[in-house]
C-alpha cells in the first residue's frame, strides 16, 4: 500500500512539454528522501488539458498541479509529500482571475464534463491491462460472448442509437447488421485511426490513454458481425499511439482476451496494426481499404459498400476509434443508459477537441447537444487576451463555421447540419476577431486541393479552380461575380465528386460565404481585410486597423530619422485632425500592434501627438518645407457638396473634398464647429485652442462654414438642391443623451451626461453639488465625473452595473479618474432616484451579481435583490446616446434603423435617397472619433469616384525617404509613459492632464516598432 499515488500525465502533449523529465526528477527526489515505498508514481494517458501540461494528479486528495518544470519536483516532494502542504504556485487558477483551485473536480474545465469514453485517460496506467479490468474493463466482452448472441449485440447497438463518431454519423448498429447479414467465409473489422482532421486529436488520446477499450470494442464488434480478423489503421504521425496500442494487443493476447477461444466461448479473433504513410484521403473508408491492401490510397465508388465488399473483397466494418471505445460502455451499461445522455437523434457523449483561440484548450467529453456557448465559456474559459469570439470551426476541412450569433447552437449532428456545418470527428477550432474568414476558407481549400488524390476530375480540378478565385479575393483582385462563381462551382464539386473528400471540400467556403458574406465583400469592394490578415491588402496591421488608414510605421520611422515635418505630412495625407487624434483617438492601431506579443504595443498615439506639437511649435519653418503643402494643387471643379454637421466626420469629408477641388460647404447647427470634439470632450483632454487650429487649417483649404444653421429648420434639403448642391452628406452625430426610466428622473439635479458636458464645454457656469453620482461606464461617464470634480464636487461616485473590466471607457481614462479620487461602485444598478422638495438627495441601487454568460461572452449581471442607498446632490445619467430623429432625419424621409440611425450602403454610404449620403455616429450609433473620420473619408472617395471614375487620393500624396529595413531582434522594453501633471495642479481648472513626449521619449518609442510594413513589401515583390 502506498500513502500517496501521484499520477503523471504521459500523453503526447505532456511528454512534449517535458513530463518525462519531471517524472525522472520526482523519482530521484523520492529516493533521496527514502519515500519510494510510500509514494507511487504512475504514468497515465492524456487528461485532456494539454495546454496546462505537464500535469500531476495527487491522490488521495485529488489535487492537481500544472505546468510543471523539472525543478518543481523537489518542492512538491518536500512540501506536499513530506509536509502535506499544497504548493500554491503550481495549482490551477481561473483564466484572468486570481482564484486558485486545487481539486481536480472543482476546476471548471473538468467539472462540466461527462467523461465516459475518456474515463481511463489520465486515471490509469494505459499499459496495464489489470488496471483496465479493475475499472470494469472486459465485463462487456464477457457479457457479449457468454450471455448474448451476435444478433443480440447488434440489437443493443441499434437500440442505443449510437452514430459513427468519425464524421458522417451513420448508425453503427445498422452498419454492423448489413455486414452480419452478408454471407462470407471471411469478414473483417477495421478501426479507423487515421485521424487526419486538422485540429482533432481525440483518437490519438484514446489510443494513448485507453487503448484496451478500443481493443475490447473491436472484439465485441468482431463477435457481432462474425469477423475473425481486425485491423487498426493508424497514422504514422502518432508513434506513441502505435506503441501503446501494440502493447495492448500483445497483453490482451497473452492473457487470452485475443486469439483463439476467447474466454472459453469458442470465438477466435485477433488484431493487427497497419500504419499509414501520410495521406489525408486514407481516412475515407474505401481509400483506407486500398491503403491496407498496400496500394495507393485512392477511394472507390460506393456501392458496393464495405459492409458487403470491403477489404480484399470481403465484408468489412470500418468504425472510428471513439465509436469503438463506446461499444464496451453500451454493452456493459445497456442502451437505455446510453440514451439517457445526449439528444433523441444524437444520443451519448461526444469528445471535442477544443483548440485555437480559447483559454482552456484540450479534449472535452460532454453530452451531445450541449450548447456551444457552454463549451466555449464554461469549460473553455472564454477567449484569451480580452478578444471576442468570432466563430467556431467544426468538422475541419469538410465542415464549416458556427458564427457568434449562433453560439447557442446545441452540438449535435442535426443542429450543426442545419447551419451548413458538420460534426466531423469533433474538432472545434475557436476563432477570435483576428481571424479572416476568407483566409480560413482558402487555407482549408489549399489543404483539400493538396490532399485530393487526383482520381476524379471534379475534386482534382474543381478545388484548384475554386482556390484560384479565393486567391484573387484575398489579393484584392476579386469581383462580385466571383462570389456567384464560387457557389456554382462548389455545388458542382459537391455533387459530382467520387468520395467524401471532394463532396465536402467546398463546405468551408460555402459556410464562410453564408455566414460572413460581408467579409468577402469587404475584400472585393473595399480592398480591405477587416481582420488584418491578408497582407496584400494592407501596409501593416496598424494601418489596416486605422479607420483612416494612416501609414503608422512610415511616420514612426521618419521620427526616428529626425524628419518630423515629413512625419506630419505623411499623417496629413490620411488625417486632417492629428492633434485631436493624438489626444483622444481610441487607437485601434495599438490593439493590433504585433509588438504586444513581445511586451506592449507601441504607443502610436503619443508619438503622433509629439509630431503635431513639434510641428505646431515650428510652424513657419514647417510651412516652407512641407511636402504635402507644396504638391501641385488639383484644379478646382464646379461640383458643390453640402455637409451637414461639423463634427469629425463632416470635417474630414470637407478636408478631402476641398483638396480634390470640390466646392464644399459645411452647415453647423451650433455656434462653433467641432461637434462632439468641442461639446463632449473636456478641455483637460483636448484643449479647444488645438481643435480650433486644426479646424482653421481645414477651412483654409477653401471650405465654407455656415454656423448656427439648422438644416431642416433654417434651410431645407430642397433649398440646398436649389442652391446648386449636387451631393449632400449628413453627419449630424448621435448627440442626444439616452434616458433610462427611473422614478425620480425628473427631480432637480438629475442631468444627462452629455448635456452636462455640453454646457460646461460651452463655457456655461454649471453648479454641481458636493456629492455627485454618475451612472454609466463609458467615456461620457468618466468625462462627466472628472469634470464634476473640477467644478468643485467633493465626492464623485460612478455607479456601473457590471465589473470594471467590462467598462467601455478607455482604460487610461478610468485610471486617471481613480487617481483623481473618483469612487467606483461596480455591480450596482440604479433602481430609483429620490429627493426632497423636488431636489435630489439620494439614489437607490440594487447590488448585482454575475450570472450566466450572455451571447457576447460576458456574464450577465443579475439582481441580488439587495438594495442600497447613496446620498447625493446630483445624479448624472451617462448611459448612452441616440440620434435626434425629429427634424432633419424624419423630414428628409430617410430610411432609418429601429434605433433611429440612418441606413446606408456600408461601402458607399449612400442612403435610401439618391445623392444623399450619410456617415459618422448618425449611421453607426455612438462610436469613435477616428471611426467617424473614416466615414468622412470614405464619403469623399465615393464622391470622387462618382465624378471621376476612380478616386484621386493618390494625387494628394507625396513621397518620403525613409529606411525600409526590418530592425534587429529586440530586447523586451516597455513603452514610454508620458508624464502627467500633478494632482494639485488639476483642481478647479481644466488644464491638460497628459503631457507630450520629449523628443528623446518619442524616438525611444519609435524604435520599438517592429516594422511590419517592411515584411509586407518584400512579400509584395515576390
Amino acid at each position: 500500500m502506498y500513502r500517496i499515488q501521484a499520477l503523471i500525465c504521459a500523453g503526447s502533449g505532456c511528454i512534449s512539454s517535458g513530463s518525462k523529465k519531471v517524472e525522472e526528477n520526482l523519482t530521484k527526489t523520492l529516493v533521496e528522501y527514502n519515500l519510494q515505498n510510500e509514494i507511487q508514481i504512475i504514468e497515465t494517458g492524456c487528461r485532456g488539458a494539454c495546454e496546462q501540461g505537464p500535469l500531476l494528479l495527487v491522490y488521495p486528495e485529488g489535487v492537481i498541479y500544472r505546468k510543471l518544470k523539472p525543478e518543481d519536483s523537489r518542492i512538491i516532494v518536500e512540501e506536499h509529500f513530506l509536509k502535506g502542504r499544497l504548493v500554491e504556485q503550481l495549482l490551477f487558477t481561473e483564466p484572468g482571475k486570481d482564484l486558485i483551485i486545487s481539486k481536480l473536480e472543482e476546476i471548471p474545465f473538468f467539472k462540466k464534463q461527462t467523461r465516459f469514453v475518456l474515463r481511463n485517460c489520465g486515471t490509469t496506467d494505459p499499459l496495464k491491462i489489470e488496471e483496465y479490468i479493475a475499472r470494469d474493463g472486459y465485463l462487456a466482452l464477457g457479457k457479449a460472448l457468454l450471455e448474448m448472441t451476435p444478433e443480440g449485440v447488434i440489437d443493443e447497438m441499434k437500440t442505443s442509437g449510437i452514430r459513427g463518431r468519425g464524421g458522417a454519423g451513420f448508425p453503427t448498429g445498422v452498419k454492423w447488421e448489413y455486414c452480419r447479414k452478408t454471407e462470407s467465409n471471411q469478414k473483417y473489422i477495421i478501426c479507423n485511426a487515421d485521424e487526419g482532421d486538422p485540429g482533432a486529436f481525440m483518437d490519438r488520446s484514446v489510443l494513448e490513454g485507453s487503448s484496451y477499450s478500443v481493443v475490447e470494442g473491436m472484439t465485441i464488434a468482431a463477435y457481432a458481425i462474425g469477423a475473425s480478423q481486425g485491423y487498426v489503421y493508424v497514422r504514422a504521425e502518432y508513434p506513441l499511439a502505435v506503441e501503446r496500442l501494440s502493447l495492448a494487443i500483445k497483453r490482451a493476447r497473452e492473457i487470452g482476451l485475443l486469439g483463439k477461444n476467447i474466454l472459453g466461448s469458442g470465438f477466435n479473433f485477433d488484431i493487427e496494426i497497419r500504419i499509414g504513410a501520410g495521406a489525408f484521403v486514407c481516412g475515407e473508408e474505401t481509400a483506407l481499404l486500398s491503403s491496407i491492401e498496400g496500394k495507393r490510397g485512392e477511394p472507390r465508388p460506393r456501392p458496393p459498400y464495405p459492409a458487403q465488399k470491403g477489404l480484399w473483397g470481403k465484408p468489412t466494418v470500418i468504425n472510428n476509434v471513439e465509436t469503438l471505445a463506446n461499444v464496451p460502455l453500451i454493452i456493459h451499461h445497456g442502451s437505455s443508459w446510453f440514451r439517457s445522455m445526449g439528444t433523441e437523434k444524437s444520443p451519448g457523449t461526444k469528445i471535442f477537441a477544443l483548440a485555437g483561440k480559447i483559454n482552456n484548450s484540450g479534449l472535452v467529453e460532454v453530452p451531445m447537444g450541449m450548447p456551444l456557448k457552454e463549451v466555449i465559456y464554461e469549460i473553455g474559459g472564454g477567449i484569451p487576451e480580452g478578444k471576442t469570439f468570432k466563430a467556431a470551426l467544426t468538422g475541419g476541412p469538410s465542415g464549416g463555421v458556427i458564427p457568434a450569433q449562433h453560439i447557442n447552437t446545441p452540438l449535435d449532428f442535426e443542429s450543426l447540419a442545419d447551419l451548413g456545418s458538420i460534426m466531423g470527428s469533433g474538432g472545434l477550432i475557436v476563432l477570435d476577431n483576428t481571424a479572416c474568414m476568407v483566409d480560413i476558407a482558402q487555407f482549408f481549400l489549399t489543404f483539400t486541393a493538396d490532399e485530393s488524390c487526383g482520381k476524379c476530375p471534379p475534386c482534382r480540378a474543381g478545388t484548384k479552380e475554386l482556390l484560384k478565385i479565393l486567391n484573387r479575393i484575398t489579393h484584392g483582385t476579386g469581383t462580385m461575380e466571383d462570389l456567384d462563381k464560387i457557389e456554382s462551382l462548389a455545388l458542382l464539386i459537391k455533387s459530382s465528386s467520387l468520395c467524401g473528400l471532394g463532396q465536402t471540400a467546398p463546405n468551408p467556403v460555402l459556410s464562410t460565404l453564408r455566414h460572413f458574406r460581408h467579409e468577402y465583400e469587404a475584400h472585393i469592394l473595399d480592398k480591405r481585410c477587416p481582420a488584418g490578415v491578408c497582407s496584400d491588402l494592407m501596409v501593416s496591421p496598424c494601418e489596416n486597423e486605422c479607420p483612416i488608414n494612416i501609414n503608422v510605421p512610415g511616420y514612426l520611422q521618419l521620427v526616428l530619422e529626425d524628419k518630423v515635418f515629413d512625419a506630419y505630412d505623411l499623417i496629413l495625407e490620411s488625417n486632417p485632425l492629428p492633434a485631436v487624434c493624438g489626444r483622444v483617438c481610441h487607437h485601434p492601431c495599438e490593439e493590433v500592434c504585433r509588438r504586444a506579443q513581445l511586451d506592449q504595443p507601441v504607443a502610436i498615439d503619443n508619438v503622433k501627438r509629439y509630431i503635431v506639437d513639434y510641428v505646431f511649435s515650428h510652424w513657419e519653418e514647417y510651412k516652407k518645407q512641407s511636402k504635402v503643402g507644396n504638391l501641385p494643387p488639383i484644379p478646382k471643379n464646379n461640383h458643390r457638396v453640402a455637409i451637414i454637421g461639423a463634427g469629425p466626420a463632416g470635417l474630414t469629408a470637407a478636408y478631402f473634398l476641398a483638396k480634390l477641388g470640390y466646392k464644399t460647404t459645411i452647415f453647423e447647427a451650433n455656434p462653433e464647429p467641432g461637434g462632439m470634439l468641442r461639446y463632449a470632450i473636456p478641455e483637460y483632454r483636448l484643449p479647444k485652442a488645438l481643435l480650433n487650429r486644426e479646424i482653421q487649417n481645414i477651412l483654409d483649404l477653401g471650405v465654407e462654414l455656415k454656423l448656427n444653421t439648422i438644416v431642416g429648420e433654417d434651410i431645407t434639403i430642397e433649398d440646398l438642391k436649389h442652391q446648386g448642391f449636387e451631393v449632400i452628406f449628413i453627419s449630424t452625430g448621435a448627440q442626444k443623451g439616452q434616458l433610462i426610466k427611473l422614478t425620480g428622473d425628473n427631480l432637480e439635479g438629475v442631468l444627462s451626461g452629455l448635456d452636462f458636458l455640453k454646457r460646461v464645454n460651452s463655457g456655461e457656469k454649471v453648479l454641481v453639488g458636493e456629492k455627485v453620482v454618475v451612472v454609466g461606464g463609458g467615456n461620457v461617464a468618466i468625462d462627466a465625473s472628472r469634470t464634476a470634480l473640477r467644478l468643485g464636487s467633493k465626492e464623485v461616485t460612478i455607479l456601473y452595473r457590471r465589473e470594471k473590466e467590462d467598462m467601455p471607457a478607455e482604460p487610461h481614462e478610468i485610471e486617471e479618474a481613480e487617481h483623481e479620487g473618483v469612487k467606483f461602485i461596480f455591480l450596482g444598478s440604479p433602481s430609483a432616484i429620490f429627493g426632497e422638495d423636488s431636489k435630489v438627495n439620494g439614489i437607490r441601487y440594487t447590488r448585482m451579481t454575475l450570472g450566466e454568460y450572455d451571447d457576447g461572452g460576458r456574464r450577465r449581471p443579475v439582481s441580488t435583490n439587495e438594495e442600497l442607498i447613496l446620498d447625493c446632490d446630483n445624479v448624472i445619467l451617462a448611459v448612452g446616446q441616440i440620434t435626434e430623429t425629429a427634424g432633419l432625419l424624419s423630414a428628409t424621409g430617410l430610411e432609418l434603423s429601429k434605433g433611429g440611425f440612418v441606413l446606408t450602403n456600408k461601402h458607399t454610404l449612400e442612403t435610401s435617397i439618391p445623392m444623399i449620403y450619410s456617415g459618422g455616429d448618425v449611421v453607426t450609433g455612438p462610436a469613435t472619433v477616428s471611426g467617424a473620420m473614416g466615414q468622412g473619408k470614405r464619403f469623399a472617395r465615393t464622391i470622387d469616384s462618382y465624378f471621376n471614375g476612380e478616386d484621386r487620393l493618390s494625387l494628394i500624396k507625396a513621397s518620403y525617404d525613409y529606411a525600409k529595413e526590418i530592425p534587429p531582434d529586440q530586447e523586451e522594453q516597455e513603452r514610454e509613459k508620458p508624464e502627467t501633471i500633478s494632482l494639485s495642479r488639476r483642481t478647479n481648472n481644466f488644464r491638460e492632464v497628459v503631457k507630450t513626449y520629449s523628443a528623446e521619449q518619442a524616438r525611444k518609442e519609435c524604435n520599438r516598432c517592429l516594422r511590419c510594413d517592411v515584411k509586407e513589401e518584400v512579400q509584395n515583390e515576390m
Binding site: A200, F201, E237, G276, A277, G278, F280, A353, L354, F447
Partner: protein, 160 residues
C-alpha cells in the same frame, strides 16, 4: 562503395524475407526499408530489389510510394523536421516558426541541409493542437514552439 551497396541490398533482402514469412503489409515494409537508408529515402535500387523479389512491377511500386507524403524518392537528411501547418497551429504562428526554421537551417520546405542532417517538411495535423504551434523532429514532438526556442530544440539533433 560497392561493398556498402551489397551490404545495403542484403539488409533489404532480409526485410523482404521477413515480409514474405509473416505477411507484413507493403507500407510497413516500405517504412522499414526507408528507415534503413542513411539518407532516409527509398532509392531506385531498393525499389528494383523489392520489385524483383515480390514480383511486382516497379511502376506499381512507384505509384504507391509516390502517393504517400512520408515516402521520399529523393535523399533526405538524417532528421526530418516536420512543421505542423494545420489551422490551430497556423492561428498561433506556424508561419513565424517556419520562417525562423528556414532562416536557421538555410533551406526551404522540402529541402535538405548540405550536411545532410536536416530535411524540412510541412506536415498536416500532428494532433497536439493544445500546444500549437507544433514541430516534430523524427518521432519527438515539441509544442508551443517559438523562434527563440528553436536553437535549444535543434541542438540535440545537430552533429558534433
Amino acid at each position: 562503395m560497392k561493398c556498402e551497396e551489397t551490404l545495403y541490398s542484403k539488409e533489404i533482402l532480409g526485410l523482404i524475407e521477413k515480409y514474405k514469412a509473416t505477411g507484413e503489409p507493403l507500407l510497413t515494409l516500405l517504412h522499414e526499408i526507408q528507415d534503413l537508408h542513411p539518407d532516409n529515402h527509398l532509392p531506385a535500387t531498393a525499389l528494383k530489389l523489392i520489385s524483383k523479389e515480390l514480383k511486382m512491377p516497379v511502376s506499381t511500386l512507384y505509384s504507391t510510394v509516390s502517393f504517400y507524403s512520408m515516402f521520399s524518392l529523393k535523399p533526405r537528411g538524417r532528421h526530418i523536421v516536420r512543421v505542423c501547418s494545420s489551422p490551430p497551429c497556423k492561428l498561433d504562428g506556424t508561419d513565424v516558426v517556419l520562417e525562423a526554421l528556414e532562416k536557421r537551417l538555410g533551406i526551404g520546405v522540402g529541402e535538405t541541409t548540405p550536411d545532410r542532417n536536416f530535411t524540412l517538411e510541412e506536415q498536416s495535423c500532428l494532433g497536439v493542437c493544445s500546444l500549437s504551434p507544433v514541430v516534430m523532429i523524427d518521432e519527438d514532438v515539441f509544442g508551443n514552439v517559438t523562434p527563440q526556442r528553436l536553437p535549444v530544440i535543434l541542438e540535440s539533433y545537430e552533429e558534433d
